[in-house]
Symmetry: D3
Subunit: 132 residues, 6 copies
Amino acid sequence: MTMNKVAVFRKEHFNAAHRLNNPLLSDAENARVFGKCNNPNYHGHNYELIVQVTGLPDAVTGYVIDMKVLSDLIKEDVLDKFDHKNLNLDTTEFATVNPTAENIAYWIAKNISNCYKVRVQESEGNTAEYEV
Amino acid sequence: MTMNKVAVFRKEHFNAAHRLNNPLLSDAENARVFGKCNNPNYHGHNYELIVQVTGLPDAVTGYVIDMKVLSDLIKEDVLDKFDHKNLNLDTTEFATVNPTAENIAYWIAKNISNCYKVRVQESEGNTAEYEV
Amino acid sequence: MTMNKVAVFRKEHFNAAHRLNNPLLSDAENARVFGKCNNPNYHGHNYELIVQVTGLPDAVTGYVIDMKVLSDLIKEDVLDKFDHKNLNLDTTEFATVNPTAENIAYWIAKNISNCYKVRVQESEGNTAEYEV
Amino acid sequence: MTMNKVAVFRKEHFNAAHRLNNPLLSDAENARVFGKCNNPNYHGHNYELIVQVTGLPDAVTGYVIDMKVLSDLIKEDVLDKFDHKNLNLDTTEFATVNPTAENIAYWIAKNISNCYKVRVQESEGNTAEYEV
Amino acid sequence: MTMNKVAVFRKEHFNAAHRLNNPLLSDAENARVFGKCNNPNYHGHNYELIVQVTGLPDAVTGYVIDMKVLSDLIKEDVLDKFDHKNLNLDTTEFATVNPTAENIAYWIAKNISNCYKVRVQESEGNTAEYEV
Amino acid sequence: MTMNKVAVFRKEHFNAAHRLNNPLLSDAENARVFGKCNNPNYHGHNYELIVQVTGLPDAVTGYVIDMKVLSDLIKEDVLDKFDHKNLNLDTTEFATVNPTAENIAYWIAKNISNCYKVRVQESEGNTAEYEV
């Protein structure tokens, strides 16, 4: 039997403050468009992050990728930047990009090597997913 | 970098009674085919509903769709019809269609505008998903 | 070191239809008091049931109670009666008693031998607990 | 059979930014004591809130308390104050009190009428509980 | 309206011991490559298994597949072999194949008839998925 | 207002193999008493561990205990001993004590300083709790 590609998923978490706002809009427009998420003093989330890597398992290890290696990659590339931070004020990534779940998923997917897909759960009800 | 489409997911819930039954079958056949789910007095579930919408984030908002808007759409198109209802007796949708998780997922996917995929979890172990 | 009592917990599930209604109230009063839960055609839930038994672990087994035995007890005393049933129509227990989560927890706690406490989760947000 | 008190639990959520800091300590001491939670630009959480009310079920309704009423109470007394807010900047409650999970649980328990116990889950790993 | 294929998912669990090891590597290499998972005395997991079947709902039943039938298939083909077993010592499947989550997902997907995709969650953070 | 004691809870995980067996019983008796859990080649679990500490929040920090400190304590006293281990073969604690969830909860509760109560979830359905 020949094996197709296998997908593996690593789940991690980070906690951050953020504010949704577009400087090209007026304050009133921002308040209308983003509602409670536009609070100028920020609010926050426990972000759940699932990173998917896809490939053939290595002949020697049986791993698509060592999950310890993947976890360390996520730590270096994402958690060290975003965990316990204010996404708007403490990161260069979201200094000028609106930190919606969509944009966070996009940025993470683009910045973890070998990442195939990223799922970012911002709250119990809201999730975004980006496939590279 | 150019962005691919992003998928967003909104989770909602409704509680409903239902009975699985096919009027073209005899009572004995219905009992055999549907087992406990054929109870003539109905049983019920907490349905978990995940609606997926896919698109490019809006240039102004960074949203594929405002989750508040999506939540309101689901409320109007699904929850107001099905929540705390008897799917067989209280809805036109399942008056003649058997309310299996498959058929519920299909109906919802077809009736929420912009919906790309719907996942309906009927119980901890059983889920159905329909992609439009 | 002497050991205090240990609590063990067994989680099970059942799916049922029910209606909240008090025959001593008028229809209008029932509708006002119980809202959507008063639907005459019933609605339903996935009930999650956690049964707690408390005691000293047996010297031979190290068990407070064999979880297989506890699971079988719950199956016989509760699930066989309530699973995939209409609590109001199919059970003697709730033919005249309103099947609120409170009353369900009470009935279960009183009818499982050795039960110390019962937790009944009716929906993601609503739970009742009865200690014998 | 006489019934003991029954406990009911209502789960709600709010999302907020906060910073742990004690103005009586130096910046260096605050950084040492509170670590990442001392970030001057704030971080945030999805707070899960479980409010417990205990009593005898009402003879007419079978409810300890109508969960809709309890949910509305929590909304008015807690969520309208804290949801999508910066706990340090946007609330009077935590303007001078450090918004640890312990202090949040205490405040909520003291300010919801009839509340018996409150559980505040700040993150997957960290929870605090206060019994009035 | 014509219906596309519907996906249904059945979740099951098994508990097993295993050890990651490649007999072609030296002990030192195995220890380096597999770390804690190379413990010669084994460690273990609660494996969560989600089996996906895809098809058009049957015209008579409205089912893609009867979930009771799918559950029985998984029990016979997977759980009876792996549950409460040592994957390395008690199974022929993993006597010579390294029981990584990737290889477990692959084996299951190949050995359940009609299976379209299998997801194996080995721990809260680590999951593998194989599509036939 | 005076504050009562506050309870805080820290959740951690470990993965281990174990076998339930009492050397004072015959093989046949062990097989009968412990069923599948008596497998001589071991099986395994993802253990979820919740450690409760109770006290008055510190006047300076607002913490009952710094959760980072509690997490480190659990790591040193429990996870470093049990994670990715065979409880029967690799630990002194369960070399002669049967590693039931009851006995694991008891041992942990007795060996973490300041611990008030420990909850050990062995599988989705089975949990044990010990209060010191």
